[in-house]
């Protein structure tokens, strides 16, 4: 078997907006918007510089729902560049860009092969240096957005072919949480197919489910929300003469999401807390060489600063200040490279008041009763939902808020109740203390 190498990428989600941020300066917004394309550009650069024999893309290249003309044009540009370098691309469509979606019927360059949606199609990939056949690349696209049957079962290795077999599939293997259970299949199904390398897409978290055969999610190319933290990129896969496969992860993201947790237990004053936040921000700035950072701070633990964080005022002020500072940096120097920017996207307070909640919860007092109610609501799903729904009834008036309300999951509701309980406690205790001092 001749040696060869290829790139495996998936979930490009070109031009999908970055979620969960507000108040961006224009320059940063443009940079973020450009980042998925920049990552794609880097992917092409990598393919050319590493002299790969071909590139496989496992679905969700763009979001059909966004229907971005830009995405289409830039994609075509990228494919054309690969065509110029004479690098073939094998693509399948996923749930975000199904074949049924209103795509632009741009003529694809000859090097791009898109696999159809009715059954797995195959192509033979050759080594670019000598034109020797090296691999059979198979794939199946999503004909529509929701594919609920197990399409992995349709893949069968050609028993006559000695070549390396690569399968492109956009699927949720073993029902991973947080992603739609499209094209559900199990690792067992994949192993049974006889393929050497399952180039998967759909799950945005990079993971190697199996090494024999290789079952690989390369993750998405560029993180776009706080759910997608850490380095993002593609796998450069090298197959040697013996069919031994080695994977090398290559970072391609231009914007890096980071979730930072800061315990407030040891922070006594507001100043100390601000300093700590700024310190951590600078740490992130130092760590992210050449990438724009987007950071969310989560404050945890119990401490005197709880009240300040809980009522949101202190947090809001500092966040605004930090954002203003970064904006100032951007405005002050138009040539400032954006990758030295660390944008604080938000503060999340998961703190508790500096009180003995257990003791309070046992107390025969208003607050004790309230905490007991909170506990009840946390443990009982019905009460929880009823409580939250009742509390948020006024929001049902509005379509957008209704949607947000509907999207509240059990966990989020629990969190809501916890925070509300903490807020109530701080209110009542604050009052109490004030009463005592009168």
């Amino acid at each position: 078997m001749p040696a060869f190498r290829f790139i495996h990428a998936a979930d490009l989600h070109l031009d999908t907006p970055f979620a969960g941020m507000s108040g961006l300066p224009d320059r940063l917004r443009r940079h973020l918007q450009e980042s998925t394309f920049a990552a794609l550009g880097d992917l092409v650069d990598l393919a050319i510089s590493s002299e790969v024999d071909f590139v496989v893309v496992s679905g969700d290249v763009y979001d059909a729902s966004e229907s971005s003309l830009r995405a289409q044009l830039r994609l075509q540009e990228a494919w054309n560049r690969l065509a110029c370098a004479n690098i073939p691309v094998y693509v399948i469509h996923g749930n975000h860009d199904p074949l049924s979606s209103s795509r632009l019927r741009l003529s694809l360059p000859r090097n791009v092969t898109v696999f159809g949606g009715s059954r797995p199609e195959s192509a033979t990939a050759v080594r670019r240096t000598d034109g020797q056949p090296v691999a059979v690349v198979s794939g199946i696209s999503y004909p529509t957005a929701a594919v609920t049957e197990n399409t992995a079962l349709l893949f069968r290795r050609d028993p006559a072919s000695p070549l390396y077999h690569i399968a492109l599939l956009h699927a949720n293997v073993d029902g991973q949480e947080g992603h739609d259970a499209y094209s559900p299949c199990s690792l067992k199904d994949l192993r049974a197919s006889g393929y050497d390398y399952w180039a998967l897409g759909h799950i945005h978290k990079r993971q190697i489910l199996s090494e024999s055969p290789w079952v690989v999610y390369p993750g998405n190319l560029q993180g776009r929300s706080l759910k997608e933290t850490g380095p993002k990129g593609c796998y450069l896969v090298e197959v040697d003469d013996n069919g031994e496969t080695s994977l090398h992860f290559r970072e391609l993201d231009h914007v890096r999401w980071t979730e930072l947790s800061i315990p407030i237990g040891e922070l006594a004053t507001e100043e100390a807390w601000k300093e700590r936040v700024e310190e951590r921000m600078e740490e992130v700035r130092g760590d992210l060489s050449g990438k724009t950072g987007i950071v969310r701070f989560t404050f945890t633990g119990r401490g005197p600063l709880h009240a300040l964080l809980q009522n949101g005022r202190g947090g809001h002020d500092l966040l605004a200040e930090l954002q203003r500072r970064e904006t100032g940096r951007l405005d002050a120097d138009a040539s400032l490279p954006l990758h030295s920017v660390v944008w604080p996207v938000g503060f999340k307070a998961k703190t508790g008041p500096d009180i003995d909640r257990a003791r309070l919860a046992e107390e025969d007092s208003f607050l004790g009763e309230l905490l007991r109610l909170t506990d009840r609501a946390l443990s009982s799903g019905d009460l929880r939902d009823e409580l939250v729904d009742t509390a948020l009834t006024p929001l049902m008036d509005n379509r957008h808020l209704r949607e947000l309300l509907k999207s509240l999951g059990p966990g989020e509701r629990r969190e809501l109740i916890e925070q509300a309980g903490a807020l109530a406690a701080s209110f009542l205790l604050e009052e109490d203390m004030r009463g005592g001092s009168d």
């Binding site: 031009d15 999908t16 907006p17 970055f18 979620a19 969960g20 941020m21 507000s22 108040g23 917004r29 443009r30 973020l32 918007q33 229907s67 971005s68 003309l69 830009r70 289409q72 044009l73 830039r74 209103s102 632009l104 019927r105 107390e363 025969d364 007092s365 208003f366 607050l367 009763e369 309230l370 109610l373 909170t374 609501a377 409580l387 939250v388 009742t390 509390a391 948020l392 006024p394 929001l395 008036d397 509005n398 957008h400 808020l401 947000l404 309300l405 509240l408 809501l416 109740i417 925070q419 509300a420 309980g421 807020l423 109530a424 209110f427 009542l428 009052e431 109490d432 004030r434 009463g435």
Partner: protein, 1068 residues
Amino acid sequence: MRLEKLQIQGFGRLEHKEIEFKGPVTVLYGPNEAGKSTLLGFVRAMLFGIPSRTYGAMRYEPLRGGAHGGMLTLRDSEGSLWTIERYARSREGASPAGGRGDRLRITRTGPGGELREPAQEELERELLGGMSKEMFRQLFAISLSELQEVSALQSEEMSRFLFHAGIGGGAAVLRGEKKLAQEMDKLYRPRGRNQEMAGIIQSIEQLERRAAAAKALLPRYREVLKELEEVGADLDAGEAELERRAAEALRLEKAAATRADWLRREALRAELAELPERATFPEQGLSRWERLQEEKARLELEAAELLRKRAVLQGELEAVQPDLALLEQEAGIRSLAGRLERYESGIREAAELRSEAEQLRNRLEHVLRSIHPDWTADDLRAFGGTVGEKEAVRRFTARFQEHDKTVDLLHHERMKLEREASSLEAVHAGALDQLQASAGAGRRQFGDVVPEDRNEVRRLWSEIQGLLDRWRAAASSVQEMRRSAEAEAAAKAHVRGFQQRLLGVSAVLTVLLPILLWLVAHSGWSALLGGAVLLVIDAYLLLALREPGGRKPRQRRRGGRMLSEPVASPEELRLREILPRLIASPLTAAGTQGVAASLAEPARWDEEERALRRLMEQWQLWDQRHTALEAAAADARRKTAGKLDELAGLQRELARKETEFAGLAREWEDWLRERRLPGDLSPEAAMDVFRLAEQGREWLSRLEALSAKLAASKLEADAFEREGRALFGELPEAESAGPGAMAAFVRRAMAELDIQLELQAKQQRLTDRLAPIEEELDRRKDRLEAIAAAERHLIDESGAANGEMYLRFGAEADKREKLMAELRQAELVLFGTMGEAERRRLEELQRDYEEGMLLRMSEEAGKRLHEAKQHRQLLIERRGRLLQEKETLEQRGLEDDVNQQLAERQAALGEAFDRYAVLAVCQELIARVRNIYEEERQPVVLRKASRYFEKMTGGAYSRILVKMGSQELMAEHRDAGPVSSSYLSRGTAEQLFLAMRLALSEAVSGRESLPLLLDDLFVNFDAGRLSGVLSVLKEVSASRQLVLMTCHAHVADGVRSQLGDVQFVELV
């Protein structure tokens, strides 16, 4: 606590009134104005102080004046008796005692009889549990007006008792709720427009609209692409049609336009057809014929001219004939003429050389004479004058000069030496004199010294010194031994003995010295000198020793007595032996015993030894000086002798030089003689001879060179003349005279030769001109023949019989040619570069249609073409628009950031939503807990009040509710549910308030259960309710004292009948 007694001194209308309370319930019954309410006021005033004047009526000043106040007696739960006596300060005077202007006296008598006087504060604290005056008024001493004061129940103070401690009566909750509501209002309000979330939602909707528009970009882009494709196809089709139409229009237009040309072409073709058919006429036949004729005529003319020129040249040639014989001698004559110049100059030069040689000879002569009168040229030649000879002369000169210098030097040296020798001799004589003087002085000074030889003196003296030292050491040791035996006097004697011994030695010396001196004189010095010295010393010693000799006997005597016993030591013996050898003293010279004697006498001996030592020291000084003088004299003598030797050597050297000079002079004379030069020449003069000889030799050599040149010149002239003669033969006699004759002859021959050469050249030129003319003639003949052949050829080709016929044929061909050309021209205009098919189509058109028809058709085709063009233009424009739109769409697509903005706004909305949700849930939580508190978990007080109220109303109302925060009181009716207190009937409301007060009074009173004073509260109650109330009061009376005041008999009766054990006090 219970009230025991009221003693009213003066309070309102009451004066000197005393009431004692017995039992748990007391009813004070009296008509209006009996002073029931005043009593209530009195109790309050006694406990908390009489109200100040600002309260007016509440102060209850005695109507008739007098003391304002009284005494209250109480018993607390411990059994202590309290009396409170309180009087208001009179209007006039200062208050006697107490706080706030009251006169106050409180006494407390314990159960055991102990008495204390607590202060007001103590009273309030211990007896009333720190209750405020107001609360007391509201809960314990109530009149109807207080009962109806709902607000009192809602006061903060009461609430604390109403709800659980730690909530602050719900105010905190209320404030919290209010704050939450404010925050929430800021974020969101249903149908609100200005809240944060509303703002975000608005912007989201706006962005969504924009996003929708942006979404339309892609489909529109797709449409544009499709349309572009269509338009492209249309354009391609239109282009072909347009081309077709354009071709047609062009064809028709051309057909119409070229009608005239067409007609002309037809005419030409007809004319051409009429011309007869002929064999082909040669190309350009006529013009070629004409050119042949012209050339033939020209050639014939030229040939005639050439013939004429030849005849003229031949005539000239015959006239020119040169002399050939002379021409043959040309080389010889030219050679002579060439050398002629040199020949003549040679003759001139020879004369000059001869005169120069004469001059040289004279000069040579002169030189020879100045060297030596006998010298000849041969001598001169023989004289070498070489460098070696010159060197020899120079060497002689140097040697003579060197000799002179050496001799001078020697003479000088000799003079110097002579001077030095004489001075040295003088020095020597001086030194000798000094020595002699010194020796004389020595002899005079040291006549006593015996030896003559100074070395002997030195040796003896050193031995004597050693002996003396040893002897002295021995003597001192002897004395040491003796010292133990002898006294101090013995020591003194020893000193004296020692001196005597010295004197002895001195005496010995005086004997020895002359002997010593004598010995010395014998060994080295001349006898005379020795004798003289001895004489002097002897005389000196004689004189010197006379006086010491006089003292000696005394000394010796003393020493002899002292040193009689000791035996003489070996040193002593030796000294006695030696001393006389050194010193010859005239006094001691008698014998050695003198010495011994002096030795034995130490005192004298010491003196003598000192003198001896002094003498010897002086002698040694002199000896040193004398030795130095001796050395100086010897040195002077040695130097003088050396100088004299040097002088003798110098004399010898001078003599040697003289002989050397004589040899040198001889050598020089020999050298001169060898060269036949005068012997008396000095070397310097010899150098002059060299110079002259050189000059002479130069003249001589130049003379010889001139002679050689003269000979050569003569030889050459002779050779020239010989050749001349050989060439011309013997010259005529007349011309042969003189050396230049030959020259003139040669010149004449030369002139003749030039003439002949000229002739020859002319002949040659003519011959040269004749040759080309002949050649030209031949060529003309050839050309004429060729022309004739060409004429014949042309005629043959045209098929004509002769020249005339040829010309006629030619004209015909010409015409045909012209017609053909015109025809071609016409066709060119008609068809141009048209293809064959096109041409055929045009010919058809011309043939088939007449002119008018063609014009019409052309017009129509033009119109059609115009339409097609317009259509195409429209398409192009449309395509342009589409392309522009496509570009705009792409641009917009690339720039669009609506989605990102939308995501951001949604994020912002999400954040606000989260914040709102927390607030809302928090609010909900608080509301629910409040509800629980209000409805389910009632506080004890409220529960008790509810029970009382239920009892009072006979079960019509089940319970009392209090809204937290607002503190609104509500009664829950058995059937109607909760009713706000403000909606209750007056009586029911009062029952509600009473129930509340009863319950609260229980909660409020601490350790002490305070008595209740109720001032006619039941006026609005019906019988049933009154009974209910009284049953409640009965229950209450079990735990506390009750004082009921009423003016109503039915009330009093009710109390009496329902409560049983009641003290009844009637007020009048």
